[in-house]
Each structure stands twice: as structure tokens, then as C-alpha cells.
Symmetry: C2
Subunit: 156 residues, 2 copies
């Protein structure tokens, strides 16, 4: 468990890596994402200050996700495989709850609803990341996100 400083654009984990760590963000911003067979990027989560980011898929073999710094950041690197505490377990269950909600969201909600949910989940991220990453998080194209935003401002 050590503290490290990473620069914007630096990649902490690549898809296919055989081991994986957890990263606790003290300052800055990370993201995790994957790239599918068609070469398309899909942003899985943002991790601003106070968040922990990891790739659970590593329990079953090689990792699925890239983890990258979107800003110069200071992060705590936590070793995998360490004994789990009770509070870790609760955090895991909460993470499952969040993912459960996200999956249901992706199944049922429109792009506008998902954008509103994004704004609620990450209130201060909108200004800090490129639109195309938000679009990727929402599972839509940047063009569609532009539409959504202009529809929202017109609707006021």
C-alpha cells in the first residue's frame, strides 16, 4: 500500500493484465474502460477524489478494463489478495448495488434519463471530462449526447 503520483494520460492497468490492484483516489480523476472487438471504447466508471476503482474481472483471469488517469492525480495503490475486512465486504455489496442499478438503468432508461442519472452520480465531473467520455459512459455517441443536451436547454 503506497502512495503514487500519476500524470494525466498515464495508464495504470491495461486490458489483459494478469494481476490487478485497487486504486484509492486522493486527488485527481481516474477512469476505467474497455475496448470491444470492434475497437470501440466503453467507459465503465469515473473515480474522482474519495472513490476507489478496481477491476473485479481479474478474479476470473486476465483483466477486462483499462484504468487511466484523466488528470494529474495522487492515488493510493492497494494490494489485491490482502485479507478482507468487514468494511471491505460492505463496500463490495454497495458496489454490487450500484452496478445492479446501472444495469437496470441501461436496460430501461432513455439517453436523457441516463444523462440525468450521470449528473446526479457525478455532480462535479461534467466540466472536467470531454463530452465524448460522458457519451461513452452513457452508452451513446457524442452526437447523440449533443442532441440530448440541446433538447434539455431548449426545454427550459
Amino acid at each position: 500500500m503506497k502512495k503514487i503520483e500519476v500524470k494525466k494520460g498515464q495508464i495504470l492497468q491495461r486490458k489483459g493484465d494478469l494481476s490487478s490492484r485497487k486504486y484509492s483516489v486522493e486527488k485527481g480523476l481516474l477512469r476505467s474502460y474497455t475496448i470491444d472487438e470492434k475497437g470501440k471504447e466503453h467507459l465503465f466508471m469515473f473515480a474522482p477524489e474519495g472513490w476507489i476503482i478496481a477491476d473485479a474481472s481479474s478474479v476470473n483471469g486476465p483483466t477486462d478494463l483499462f484504468i487511466e488517469a484523466l488528470e494529474n492525480s495522487i492515488i493510493l495503490v492497494l494490494d489485491e489478495g490482502v485479507q478482507f475486512t468487514e468494511s471491505d465486504t460492505i463496500r463490495l455489496i454497495k458496489r454490487i448495488a450500484v452496478l445492479q442499478k446501472r444495469a437496470i438503468m441501461l436496460m430501461s432508461a432513455s439517453a436523457i434519463e441516463r444523462y440525468d442519472d450521470f449528473l446526479k452520480t457525478y455532480p462535479d465531473i461534467v466540466q472536467r471530462v470531454p463530452q465524448k467520455m460522458i457519451a461513452s459512459y452513457l452508452g451513446i455517441t457524442p452526437e447523440a449526447l449533443s442532441k440530448v443536451k440541446s433538447a434539455k436547454t431548449k426545454g427550459l
Copy 2:
């Protein structure tokens, strides 16, 4: 931790319940699903023999999911809040990995790809549940699923 027998159609947990249990399926088939504000059902997961089904959202308050028996089933009811073992934790992480994959799937894959993934995930469920539930699991309408299937058989 007790063993119970439930009949087809019986509901073990309702959305909004304040506490929640884990159910380990010995025989039969359960499903979990939610109903959105528009009254639409979204099937979250199936749990055939050997699977465990639960609703993680209960850690943050009332439950989001219904849990229902799709067949007459024999299930083990596990109490929530019991001390977690190391293997529980690993199971949780695997669950996160599955959900992570599901979310990425929903973000990126077409209906056909999701159907193929469903067939791989639940090889022996297709014959046991109504088509409309499979459609709901895939996040599409029963009509669209019919199209997908006829497209697949034509394509042979």
C-alpha cells in the same frame, strides 16, 4: 438458515421490503426483477439450481427487486447480516465481475449478441421460461426477440 419449499408464482421478496435475504436454489428456478415508474418489468437475473440470488440494494435501504419462483422450488434461505467468510467475499467479487460484464454488454452489444450471451450464461433455461421473460432480461420487447430468433434460424 432453513430449507423451504415454494410453489410456482410465489413471491419471496417484494420491491420496497426493508430487509432482504439470500436464497440458494437447490431445485427449481427463481428470478429477480424490478418494475419501473412506467410499470414496465425488467428481469434482472435467473437463478437455476446451484445459484444464489439476492438483492444487494437492501444495504442502502428498501429493496429494488422482486424475487419470485418460476417453478416449484426447494431453496435454502440464508440470513443477511451473518459474518462473512473469505469465500463469501470471493463470491461477491465474482458477482461484481459478472455485473460488470453485463453492464458492458448492455452498453455495447446488439440484441442478437445479448441473446447469444444469454444462451451461454443460462444454457438450459431457454425451454423453461416464457419468451417474454427472456426478452425482458435482454432489455428488448418479445416482438423483437421473435425477430432475433427467426433471423438466427434463417441464417443457418
